[in-house]
Symmetry: C2
Subunit: 314 residues, 2 copies
DNA sequence: TCGGCGGATAAGTATTCCCTTAAGCGTGAG
DNA sequence: CTCACGCTTAAGGGAATACTTATCCGCCGA
């Protein structure tokens, strides 16, 4: 019974599938399946069984889950407890939604590190919206920056709005048929995440999956839209330059422009790490707001990391 | 950071020495030292440093200890949580003081297993009195049978008297000099445990260490006393046969005969395992009392296991 | 009925654990 | 001083972990 095995069990149980846990951990599917098999054999119970679409907990699994979850969380607390004081730098593990990751996470973290956070080791990973609560609750991450996360009663975390923008639909010069459902929608991975702002927008517009094309990044999707391949979704403030240059134009729909707010989600104050608290405070500064408003300033695009679903720390 | 490593750290911290932890775990001293070294390297702190006689916690170690302790305890809880229900047998890990171990633990456990405890896997180990609270608090054991354990405020455990006897000093036919301090005291390992009844008796009589000879078992010590080598300590009810046969005679001292009571120590009711509760209830039955009063009945001496300081159940 | 999706399994490998014995040091007691 | 005791390090071996790619299996939908 290893902490690694317990971690994978918790993620499988909480995310409801081996595949999701594997992607959240950044490992292959058999790795997760195998860790689960080891636990199952040692404890003599299936713990989770597949039941059609998703995995369901056995009674023993339901008893194990809260215990395992707490052990994993304590494991992270143990490291933090030792590093505190000790002159050792604090650690901020930030997860961000796809959009935030692509445009603002890196410059934001750089600015944070240069400013107050000199003593804080910061790393960033990308996660789907429904992964974020799980990652936070189990101390895989210290803070999450993305859409508002519906709080569940049992895991004590809070979401606070940190940046307000609005989503628009953009297209190139081509003419579009009348019905949004017939358009070709060009999105990045975020669009396939039903809990993200983009995903919710597509759902509200009843866009069928067949009309959605997924690109590796928002930038690529916007470029394709500018070429007339279809329409794309964008936070308005990130495409002002392209609109000004005429590469893109805003297309109004029944649901757009739509308010969209980025939230910072962390554990409740008493469980929050010092690094997370420092970062939370930093986000309310004018410097942070400026970075979120004009993220491109001074960051060479070569520094953008290819989206890994989540980078795993330790 | 392995659960094993955390366990050894907790034991070293709680017992105050690498040697004690090694013997409690039933492994070699370097094994403990190495586990500690691995933790130290990974966490970047010494955690415990030797300070003359005993090991002292660093500030980081003090912060880590409660967390590590809880993780270890949860690890045991996790197994128990899965095994409960599931048809799997419960598990009772009993630790006993040397005297209890030598004479009554095995027949008691056998009787328990034959009676109510058919569904309970039982195993017994021997531990020094000051190890018992640590082993219980960290779920290395479910119940301890031996002297009364002074409760510490932070670990929630209870001691209940289960058997009352009295200690006597016995000798062979030889004449003894007047002062007990001058006698040759023949004891088993229990006599070297300052928290045991025998050890406390030796301390009250101010017997110097130079006058103490340690034997592998109480039986061996009594045999030597019968040969006139010195005096020994015995629970009165265990030497009645030898007294009747004239092999031994009771020698009164300033402190003996002394009341001596065996206690069962377990976690507080809400944290107690089902197996421990069952055993606790069994000890109050007439059958259990009879076994403790006449332990030799029906148990071939070949079954007596050589005393291992503590057998470890993974 | 046939793909396809998701989970389990197989086989192989690098790494880490965990324990051993043997030997090296620091410190305190005699 | 010297010696014993206790902690640490070194070296080595066996087992378990943790990951990979490749393959198989069960199930659902078209």
């Amino acid at each position: 019974m290893t902490l690694t095995q317990l971690s994978t069990f918790v993620l499988v149980a909480r995310l409801g599938s081996v595949k999701a846990a594997a992607s959240a951990l950044g490992v292959s599917e058999p790795a997760v399946s195998q860790a689960l098999a080891a636990l199952r054999q040692q404890l003599g119970d299936q713990l989770v069984t597949r039941s059609g679409a998703s995995m369901r907990l056995t009674p023993a699994g339901m008893r194990l889950l809260p215990i395992a979850s707490q052990m994993v969380a304590l494991g992270a607390d143990a490291e933090a407890a030792v590093r505190v004081g000790k002159g050792a730098p604090g650690q901020l593990r930030l997860v961000a939604s796809g959009t935030v990751m692509e445009f603002v996470a890196t410059p934001l973290v750089n600015a944070f590190a240069e400013g107050k956070g000199e003593r804080i080791d910061t790393s960033v990973g990308m996660a789907a919206a429904d992964e974020m609560p799980v990652l936070l609750a189990n101390r895989f991450a210290d803070a999450a920056l993305g859409p508002n996360l519906i709080p569940r009663p049992d895991d004590e975390m809070v979401s606070e709005p940190v940046f307000r923008t609005h989503l628009v639909v953009v297209a190139g010069a081509t003419r579009l048929p009348g019905n949004p459902r017939g358009w070709s929608w060009l999105v990045d991975q975020t669009g396939t995440d039903p809990a993200s702002d983009s995903g919710r927008l597509l759902a509200r517009l009843h866009v069928p999956e067949s009309r959605i094309r997924v690109f590796g990044s928002q930038t690529a999707a916007w470029a394709a839209a500018a070429d007339g391949t279809g329409v794309a979704i964008a936070p308005a403030h990130l495409v002002t330059a392209r609109l000004r240059r005429g590469e893109l134009r805003v297309v109004n729909t029944a649901c757009t422009p739509a308010d969209s707010t980025w939230y910072l989600t962390t554990l409740c104050p008493e469980r929050r790490s010092i690094a997370a608290e420092t970062f939370r405070h930093y986000l309310s500064t004018a410097a942070a707001l400026r970075v979120m408003r004009e993220p491109g300033s001074g960051v060479p695009p070569s520094k953008f990391r290819p989206p890994v679903y989540v980078t795993l720390w330790s």
